[in-house]
Amino acid sequence: MAYTVVGKSVSRADAVAKVTGKAKYTDDFSERGMLVGKILHSPYAHALVKSIDVSKAKALPGVEAVITHQDIPKIRYATAIPGVIEAIATDEVGVAELKYATAGHPFSLDPSHRDKEDRYILTQRARFIGDNIAAVVATDALTASKALKLIEVEYEELEALTTTEAALKEGAPLIHDDCERNILSSAGYVIGDIEQALKESDHLIEGEYETSIVQHCHLENQISLAYVDSDRRIVIMTSTQIPHIVRRIVAQALGISWGRVRVIKPYVGGGFGNKQDVTVEPLNAVMSLAVGGRPVKLELSREEAMIDTRTRHAFKFKIKTGVNSDGKINGIQIEAVSNTGAYASHGHSIASSGGGKFRYLYQTKALKYEPLTVFTNLPVAGAMRGYGTPQIFFAFESHIEDISRKLKLDPIELRKINLVETGHVDPLNQTVIRSCGIRECIDKGKELIKWDAKKALYKEQKGVKRRGLGMACFSYASGTYPVALELGGARIVMNQDGSVQLQLGATEIGQGSDTVFAQMVAEVLGIPMHMVHVISTQDTDISPFDTGSYASRQTYVSGMAVEKAALEVKRKVLAVAHSMTDIPAHLLDLKQQHIVMKESGERVMELEVAAMQSYYDRVHAQPITSDVTNNARINAIPYGVTFAEVEVDIKTGKIKILEIFNVHDSGKIVNPQLAEGQVHGGVGMAIGYAISEQLLFDEKTGQPLNNNLLDYKLPTIMDIPEIGAAFVEKEDPTGPFGVKALGEPPIISPAPAIRNAVLDATGVAFNRIPMNPQRVFEKFKEAGLTLN
């Protein structure tokens, strides 16, 4: 379909605000008399707090409050009863500590679908180095830091379990008393008769693959500002992807009614899933309550944020695949062990989500997925861009490459033989693939990188530097349906001049959602972009309900609500025009700020005239607005592929990525330039995942070794080649304007494509990432790869 604004690379709605520094982030806000909060973290990976002496810290001038786990029930009790905030910490109230779940999922009315409640605001039992033991509120950051050093804690050390093997071992101590063998969950699935499928295959191929713990490294660390307002409600401004969920979880953590919490989300400097979780907010609320509701800012340093927020789950896979000589895959059996760290967070759903989204790529007779999500005394793993899929696709897209080599089949043809087709119905959740451009993506990628010509060129290399090509595919989903609730909310108010305000529950966190929503509204209402004013701030008191930015859901799920809201406004405008002209509304349309005849394009009146009528008609005045919620009970499956060319230095083990192309089928692309930006960001992250990034810990103590940006090797712009982004726009009939998800997908397939390119260049298969120089060097040595 031909669109005017949708499909065009219009400038970001917030471009000027961000470039001129007018965009305000949480740290740009301050309140009169604002205090500073800081956290005392556990220095032990597993320990009991025997005693805490805060007297010296409290005595330091400038310290306003020192809080330990003992104070939390009192503060909670006081806040639960409106009007008794002043009573805080004055008397013993003896209310038990409250556990809460942090994962940013929509609430479920079904208790069995809720997240595991295993977190205390401050804990008496440390489960990882970085766990929150005590907190200080002071007049300034320096005083708060000094006070932390004056808190005397006596710990009783417990055995630290830093690997999943140690945690699963018979007789290992339990990190959570109610989780046997330290297993959080093991929910997998079986399709067909896997034993039979493997047995009747010509070849049985096995492989083991491993991914590492990495961190989001969003530019803006976790930061929030909390105070109690004149209405005795707790107000929290925070850098989050999920303001409405933060409201609920803070209320749950404090044991108060949800309406007594108000959450405000200003501009956010990136999240990548780490802010689809509640981290600093409940403690920040407690800090404010501990000082009589005064404003307190709590900002994590990079060193804190890298271990005391969330990380990406490290996975270990064992895969067994039955395949016939012609390349047809009969059955796949995948065992996965996922390291979820010290608390549940999103852990249980990440292993299952990865296994679920994986099913949309290849068709087999039988598929068995057995994940095990295991607690360890390491930082908490949670949501991160891709949500379990970068792990499983690294494993399987490496594995299928290994199969192609064993069977001497072309790796691309082998994949094509097994790919799903449009019309495929998922046997477990009945999702229908209504658009599938994976084959076109592969063909386009192959052409872009000049696959055939380079393959021929790179045969028989002997030198120190060798080149190779690799590719990998992926499938994903647009939002979480049918697993979770998918509500999108949008509200539009038309002004007298025909311009509109667009209010969203969906959150702009840098990905560009405000812009694409504005484009949708501009398209439907026939107005230019500058007449759509997006309210970028979400305020749970004001903004429509929408669960936020995650699962690559917004353009698809929230976009449905936006489109509906715009269509409702359009209908109302045309009704006004009808009342003024007696031309039936169904003959009218909105184009270029005019009401026009749909067929001929004849201009009937300016949009402004109808808008003025709606405001000031002496009889029928009623400003045009819409307030829409959409419950998306459907999904659309995005696809894509990475093609990579690498050069490997055989002597130093360094891998250089020469060219990389990501080709995506994300349906209709609303804004090509923003879409390319998403791909650049995702591929850049994936390159780090593939060759350099890994959070390291001392295996004995669980001590983080590199929780800073010097020692954690996040790539710089100098390490990233020019990234090629291309799109195959298979419009999905269910998506607003035919869109499908794009936010997370770019990070999924580059790592296995790079791995396969290194295999092509050197003949050495790396089944573990990152492929950093030392590992590459050691593996070459082990494989006997030498010069001459």
């Binding site: 320096l142 130093t652 070794l705 590199n706 010097l710 090797k713 790539p715 710089t716 030392q774």
Partner: protein, 293 residues
């Protein structure tokens, strides 16, 4: 927020030296890219700082009449990199300068601060070692000059006596004239990283033979170091792939690499052997020699 108890600024070296003598607690701060990090990390509390940033004479880079290159301790890495004279005379040093940090850091970090911080990973150190640099130190009573090899005592430890300020880095003409050099910073990233290994090689070529070779290594031991055994071996040898190979092997013998989570001893030694050869290979070409194939 930094834990700064007092802050002084000197306008001249003399004033700085006097202040240091009066208040032995003072910690010198140049660009601040190391000192402030230490304060941020809590390793330096209630600091009393003496800033050298107002002493413009310390930013001077010039060639003395006798050909000695004198680099003021407060010259920033950006200034060193962009200095046309240095680029022409001692490119191995300007290359090292631009490998350091990122543009913002290079704009404030100084070479004197880099040296006095005493880190084996200092990006300027390998080249300064290979260049036989000498350091001019000044205190209230006078000045002395020490070779850089005697200045580094251990990790974070340098031979700066109480009251002394590093004012100039000196490179004698016989140490750079006629030499070709190459610096390789091997790090996990192409920018904003700490070296896994720094290799600076300089050499003089005569009739296809090495007249002189000097190799400075960073992160191959607790301090930057020289590969004297390899250098001695190289003298007078014909420049061939075999000679380079032997130099690489011998270079490892001067190192004191250790295994840490950053890299294993074995890998570091392998890198020393390989990268010394690569650096020297380019240095030969830069010195006017023929390319070794």
């Amino acid at each position: 927020m930094y834990d700064i108890k007092a802050y002084y600024e000197a306008e001249s070296v003399e004033e700085a030296a006097r202040l240091l003598a009066e208040k032995p607690n003072l910690k010198l701060i140049a660009g601040g890219t190391d000192v402030l990090i230490k304060m941020h990390g809590g390793q330096l509390e209630e600091a009393e700082l003496l800033s050298l940033r107002k002493i413009k004479s310390l930013e001077n880079i010039h060639v003395r009449d006798d050909g000695t290159v004198a680099i003021g301790a407060m010259a920033t890495f950006s200034v060193i990199f962009h200095n046309a004279m240095l680029k022409k005379l001692i490119p191995v040093l300007t290359e090292a300068a631009v490998s350091m940090g990122g543009p913002q850091i290079r704009n404030i970090a100084t070479i004197g601060g880099n040296v006095c911080n005493g880190a084996t990973s200092a990006d300027s150190a390998s080249s300064l070692f290979a260049l036989n640099a000498r350091l001019k130190l000044q205190d209230e009573k006078g000045e002395r000059v020490v070779p850089i090899r005697e200045f580094y005592l251990g990790p974070g430890k340098v031979a700066l006596n109480p009251g002394e300020i590093l004012t100039e880095i000196l490179i004698a003409p016989e140490d750079y004239l006629g030499f070709g050099g190459q610096y390789i910073k091997f790090a996990m990233r192409e920018a904003m990283d700490i070296a896994t290994l720094g290799v600076a090689a300089v050499c003089k070529v005569e009739n296809g033979n090495f007249a002189e070779v000097r190799i400075g290594l960073g992160v191959a031991g607790p301090t930057p170091l020289r590969c004297l055994e390899a250098e001695e071996y190289a003298r007078g040898k014909k420049i061939t792939a075999e000679t380079l190979k032997e130099i690489g092997k011998l270079a490892v013998r001067s190192t004191k690499a250790r295994t840490s989570w950053r890299a294993s001893k074995e890998y570091r030694e392998h890198l020393v052997e390989e990268l010394t050869q690569r650096a020297l290979k380019t240095a030969v070409v830069n010195a006017g020699g023929a390319e070794v194939v």
